[in-house]
Symmetry: C3
């Protein structure tokens, strides 16, 4: 891709040679010939063949530069073009696909199994060792990495990415106590995952008990997360690693859950709320917009004041004033 | 199944037509013809063909009702009959089973491998991509979902369910520090999992170091849990997601561990104790029956009082009384 | 192996018959004929055929004993000889290995797939269902247990052990917020895992974004851990289960992270620091050597004093002195 085409694609102002060939993105300190990088703030020396910079950038870089509003965002966008993940094609002869399933995938890896009545859209990649159940629907341009397991009755949209080892559709964790044992509450619901969702490796998304578990458009989930039965996640939600969301909780649009957060059952996290790492939201709570921290969560300001109070307490005790 | 047969099965009092055919369970608000649902407390309009209700229920539902002591429990029981997970049968030709293993399973999925000297009982389902080691014993009517890994020398009982991606029998995490490196302590013990145990997806149950890791009858474990070497778990224990239990700890019967709990090594949790979400039990502690919360755990009442004290401290500081 | 050869191997003083055959290690209380065990402190009756003891041990055990400085360490070392994990050999006919890959492994299990341009060294074991990407390098004498997934461009050293279900090389979790959606930041870096590293089951090690994720020689990682993109882990680090390390953090040599620890991004944990279970280190912090606890971490002594202060506060309030 030529520098002039990149400038056009990211809608930036090119200064310098428009005919330099760019094949890869790279870190500013390691970039070399045919590579493009970006600078967010300060000048850094580089051997890149092109650098994306802020509009008010004034340094001289010895290579073509492209001025944009948000260099990191433009860099991410051009990376998606230069590093398209579409090299995998063909269907491996070892895989088994049920005859009455409608599979149009561009890539089916080795040792894949697809059960009956399942639909898989065009340009979708199903990597080695993936298991796909009955009555599953997977859209177009979705990538499912190796050894994922998709149980029956799961629906996944277009342009999704699901990383290796993730399990979608296992039974929710629901039992009714009888005198001397637990009896399983039925876990026969469904899962709907909308377009452009990315799910990390070794996650677990449980099916609804009687209803559905839902993940909205554009939501991003990190590795080793647990999404319980009947959870409703909105659009463009970000969930960091090792976070767990318990049954029937609602996570509205644009929420951010940091790492190792615990959301109990029947909670509502309102649009735009941010929950700090390792925090916990107790059952049935409603958490409004803002930044929240602690176990249980409180507004960030309160959390800081509480910690300051405890520090003051320590000083008072140490100085024998208490 | 006819409404009269259901009433008999759950030992309830049928009011209305006993010859209505019921094929599925459903949520009260979504149930339709041929579906049965339940109401725990208040009346709800429904299109179900039958509803299980409390003995003192007096409303008119326009469909047959069955009165029982515990509607949710009866609903769970009838769901187990109506939604039996036994549709998978046959042995897939792609799978490899060692010749000297005694495998009687009703279902062996695609790309399964079973190593030597292993026994698998009748009516057991081994789903696609499962790996089973040497000298493994798996009972009757057990379901092992896709891509699970069962290492050598593991014993699993009857009527168990193990969800996808779970690993049973990896080495415990034990090393002895030498001058400049860690030397692995031998992890050559076994695992015994009793009947009617359910284990969620992507869990890890480690083998004993020299001894055994044990999970008692009827215990239920949620997704992404870690059970370390030599842990002894009793009967009807409930362990929620992302909880970890360290080496040699003992969890007695009827204990409940909520989500993201951490149990350190050589701990004993006595029969019937409940440990709240995100709590931690420190090494070598013994936790008696009751409800416990916090890091480290304290009785729930103490935990609440402590939180109230801290709030009071904040007020005192804010009002310049401290 | 004869007792005299064991004594020589562990450099100990043999007292008793040097020609007793030893075939296995065992726990002192369960050991029987042909088994060797160890005693750290007090005398314990045993039926072992040989026991490793401290140099100042004076009891009579009715079997040969071997005196050494550190019995547990010597026991671990001899266990490694007696229980060598090298019984698996041969290449299973069902596996697919790309023609231009250079695979010298002693064992390739069933349903393995190895993509192009990959190197696997001598005496390495690749167990059933493992997926290995392009441009991967795996050293000698390494064991990769079933159903692991190694993405493209990952390098793993000699004498490593990677337990089942672990995913190495999934994309890091990095996005740039655009107006109405998140755009993925490129995750095209690499992973270098040095010699003698052990990684537990169902872990996730993410590839670098533009740079590399590194794990140093002799480091041991328990089950269900998350290592994010660009994390740099030193030598002989110990990381217990369910711990997560966020992007670009540095964990220096000989650090110990207990269970369920959370390390935020851009943190440095200095050489030899110990972070207690369930603790959290906040972004950009530098943690020096010593023992640290809490959320956020503080030195252990401070953590204890803080807890004592809160207890005192409770007493003051209870006694109406506050």
């Amino acid at each position: 891709m030529l520098t002039k085409d990149i400038a056009e694609f990211i809608n930036g102002e090119l200064i310098g040679d428009g005919n330099v060939e760019i094949t890869r993105v790279a870190d500013i300190s390691k970039a070399t010939i045919n590579e493009i990088s970006f600078i967010e703030k300060d000048f850094k020396p580089t051997n890149a063949s092109c650098v994306i910079v802020r509009e008010n950038f004034i340094e001289n870089l010895n290579c073509p530069i492209i001025k944009v509003k948000n260099p990191k965002l433009s860099f991410a966008k051009i990376a998606q073009i230069l590093h398209q993940n579409n090299s995998k094609t063909g269907w491996h002869k070892s895989s088994f696909i049920a005859e009455n399933s409608d599979v149009r995938a561009s890539f089916i890896g080795a040792f894949v199994s697809v059960d009956e009545n399942t639909y898989i859209g065009e340009a979708t990649q199903i990597h080695d060792g993936v298991r796909i159940g009955k009555n599953v629907s997977i859209g177009k341009c979705t990538i499912i990495y190796p050894n994922c397991v998709i149980y029956d009755n799961v629906s996944i949209g277009n342009d999704c990415v699901i990383h290796a080892g993730t399990v979608i559709g296992a039974d929710g964790f629901g039992y009714v106590r009888d005198e001397n044992e637990y009896v399983k509450f039925p876990q026969i619901g469904k899962i709907f995952i909308d377009d452009n969702v990315e799910i990390g490796a070794n996650c677990c998304i449980d099916r609804g008990a009687l209803g559905e578990t839902r993940i909205g458009k554009g939501t991003k989930i990190d590795n080793l997360c647990q999404i319980a039965h009947n959870v409703q996640i909105g659009q463009n939600v970000v969930i960091a690693a090792l976070t767990g969301i318990s049954g029937s909780s609602v996570i509205e649009d644009d929420v951010i859950l940091a790492g190792q957060v615990g959301i109990a059952d029947h909670v509502t996290i309102k649009k735009g709320a941010i929950i700090g790492a390792k925090s916990a939201v107790f059952p049935n709570k409603i958490v409004r917009a803002g930044v929240w921290c602690g176990v249980p969560v409180q507004p960030l300001e309160d959390y800081k004041r509480q910690n300051a109070s405890i520090k003051k307490l320590e000083r008072l005790i140490k100085n024998k004033k208490l």
